[in-house]
Subunit: 500 residues, 2 copies
């Protein structure tokens, strides 16, 4: 079914039938040709986007729910690899990938193959309640998928459905363990249990969570209390009185401003400590600090490895849990399996949460954060085993095809190219930054950003935005240097046509 | 692949190859024979449960996460219809169905067929972000699956991942609309937006949600603040200061105690009103009331239709949203598509939430509760289209095979049989109650209940528990009178062996 065009590699054999396994061996050698068979070579734009079919579907959808946010409708079977195909037949090079959530792009043959297996079909249509009646393959999948790529120092993992439920449950674990330690390891008292039903202390203590300015941790009520990126996410909804600390804002170039930037780290850390103390005085002790390695939704903001190392030390000094939210940065997005690997922490984060490219939500936790009573971190489904089966294939494919290496390689092309464009269009774009293909640049205004993204879409390139005037790349792990170059060309075309 | 044994129907043709479509026509005529082909005729128990393989897997799982709650491991491909098969080859008649979450039992051929389709495989492995880039079939699935069974008066629906996220988002809608009405329909002010980032009023107002004693609405932080069934779910976690009203407790038999029970309704309603006023005085106005038609987790507690009608009137008088949580009662569980249909409300509930048998979470809402600004009820995935595709098949199958009729029929057998057993064992069990197969009975002590459930499992019957000493049936919609009779026989056997 899948046929890979090896144009330019072997002129005699333009089309070859390749199993993805046999193909794998070629992966690193042929990275300039598409990694995914049947992927289009170039974008093909037939209509304005959204086209007439998408527009019609959108107006139908709008009768059922507010569809204002819909860009276009996707024709799933026609998509392949890095290319999304919309309802009107436009083939778009997708470097945004469903908000960073497709690890291997569209219709990856290995994932299709996994999904077709009788066992997969069974768990897909007869989803078990994993807390009571897990499937016989559950332990294997946890080991082969999740634990085989566990952050250093982590041997415990809990699956959930999505990023928000992963983060909410990680916060629950932090709070339960905070109170358990306070009780000297004992289970809750009768007085606590009685008060809990009434939502009152001591059963429901006024614990708090410290998060950072511009952070995003999801939209359920607790993680929303920790999210600070956009007011429209939060307004009109009750929130917990939790502290918000500043996140470092460095002066560029980072190398020649190291002293200033170290001072910025220290300023932020001092503020973290002040807030921890202040909330303790308010009798709302900070049970956990949650932080993204790169603030994504908030504008692709970076902290230094040193900042995070010092943050962990500080957090542990005050007895709070240190939770790293890798929902967007995890699963190889930055060229490493986990972005926080780069920090060289002395000890592992207490919890690392994930979702998006991992296909299902969840969190790793240290042995210290294992709750002894059952049914406390619990619900009906506790994740979804079909996603776990698919994740196992994702992980195998990442290894087999060295997709982390590819990600770093493509990221280098992307970032280098953007730096060139910055020099060419100094009034238009700035501050190109990235790790792997987790790359972003700023535009000089929000309006211009919108214009750039709209124009790029007309030329068949899908990118995303974040923060106030940032454009972000969030491609799949099969994004190759050729794709990066194509994006750069089109960006250059757009910038050339614009007046800044 | 699927072969149905028509024993007793046609002695000459013991085994026939039936497509499920052809088979459907026979469904109502042959309800005494298995509706699902290849389903075992009886439980087959080979080992203690958990058996040696389940025990081994459990100890392996316990290295990765607290596995105390695990009963046994499931061998998914071997399960069929109403029968779950565990890792040790025990075939168990499952009247609990993954905590009420499998609508058509295990490996239903129509669901397998749906899942095998190329289109299904595509959306399963390339999950779209439905808020930005929905699939071309999304509107169709919403119409064919969700809107075709919408509660009366509902034309708007939003999908989510699970019951907890459905309820949290319904609460968000209620609160956003409460504040919007307060502003005379205008969008949030700048002052509100600024305060929201800081988790402070007026951006984050102190709105509250009224729920009922013994209610269960999920385990994220907001729905957990509304859940009141078990302290262990809530303890050690911060909660919102929200009011809890009593839920009616009727005197049996209901028919001859109508005056007393009406007084009980009035007592609870008066308390609801008192709490709404009290929380308004505390400046934490009640934006929503959330209630289950039958409190499931809390012990299968019923309110009268009159109670709910009066409750709605009261709630609307005070300008709060009236949210009916049909996560467990929905999708035909009570012999009607939605349990609240029975109340004959004058106007629809403002929102109806669902999950479990519906395969994905979500909520219906009235036009009045449609939020005009985009991105306020939003996240990356906004549900999962493969579940929606499967749900469409579930709905078609329910219609084609008249599974609601079957549910009422099987429920009658079950409830009638339990009433007989009550008379036979008056010191052991009591208070049998139910609608459709949503049936439960009480045991005279929690210890005895545990013993009954354990003994039933040894005889190959899986039931569940809820409340303090209640046993609940929560079978699939393919549960037939024959299955009900088998359960009753085994319960009688167990009660006969016990000393009360």
């Amino acid at each position: 079914m899948f046929v890979r065009k090896l144009s330019g590699l072997n002129s005699a054999t333009k089309e070859l039938n390749f199993s993805s396994r046999r193909f794998a061996a070629f992966a690193s050698a042929v990275r300039r040709t598409p990694l995914i068979i049947h992927e289009p070579e170039y974008p093909l734009i037939k209509t304005p986007i959204p086209g007439p079919i998408s527009k019609k579907l959108k107006s139908e959808l709008d009768k059922i729910q507010n569809a204002t946010g819909v860009c276009y409708f996707v024709d799933p079977e026609k998509c392949a690899g890095n290319y999304v195909v919309d309802a009107d037949g436009n083939a778009i090079l997708d470097a945004y990938m469903m908000v960073a959530s497709l690890p291997l792009g569209y219709n990856h043959p290995d994932l299709i193959e996994t999904c077709k297996q009788p066992h997969s079909l069974s768990i897909a249509v007869s989803r078990p309640a994993l807390g009571f009646y897990p499937t016989i393959d559950y332990v294997g999948h946890l080991n082969n998928a999740l634990l085989s790529v566990a952050p250093k120092g982590h041997r415990q993992v809990q699956t959930m459905m999505c990023g928000a439920t992963a983060n909410e449950n990680a916060l629950k674990v932090a709070m339960i363990m905070y109170q358990t330690r306070k009780r000297g390891g004992r289970s809750p008292t009768d007085a606590e249990l009685k008060a809990a039903i009434l939502n009152q202390p001591p059963g429901c203590p006024n614990l708090s969570v410290l998060s950072f300015e511009n952070a995003f941790h999801g939209r359920m009520f607790a993680c929303l209390s920790a999210s600070r990126s956009k007011a429209i996410h939060k307004v009109d909804l009750p929130a917990f009185d939790w502290p918000m600390a500043p996140f470092p804002r460095y002066e560029d170039p980072v190398d020649s401003n190291s002293e200033k930037n170290r001072a910025e780290d220290d300023r932020c850390l001092a503020e973290v400590e002040r807030l921890i103390k202040k909330w303790a005085e308010k009798d709302k002790p900070v049970a956990a600090i949650i932080v993204e390695p790169i603030q994504a939704e908030g504008g692709d903001n970076y902290g230094s490895a040193e900042f995070f190392r010092k943050l962990q030390t500080l957090v542990k000094k005050h007895g709070c849990a240190f939770i790293v939210d890798e929902v967007q940065t995890g699963c190889g997005a930055t060229g490493r399996m986990w972005a926080h690997e780069e920090w060289n922490l002395e000890r592992p984060p207490d919890m690392v949460t994930f979702s998006k490219k991992m296909l299902l939500g969840g969190f790793y936790y240290t042995d210290e954060y294992r709750i002894k009573e059952p049914y406390r971190i619990f619900n009906t489904w506790m994740g979804d085993p079909i996603k776990l089966a698919l994740l196992e294939t994702v992980i195998k494919t990442i290894r087999r095809d060295d997709l982390l290496g590819l990600n770093r390689e493509s990221g280098k092309v992307l970032l280098g190219g953007l730096k060139d464009l910055e020099r060419k269009f100094p009034n238009a774009i700035s501050n190109s930054r990235g790790k792997g293909t987790f790359v972003a640049f700023d535009v000089n205004s929000a309006d211009k950003r919108k214009h750039i993204l709209d124009e790029l879409l007309k030329k068949g390139i899908q990118l995303g935005y974040c923060g106030e005037r940032t454009v972000r790349f969030r491609p799949a792990l099969i994004f190759q240097p050729t794709h990066a170059k194509l994006c750069l060309e089109k960006i250059e075309d757009v910038l050339q046509e614009m007046i800044f």
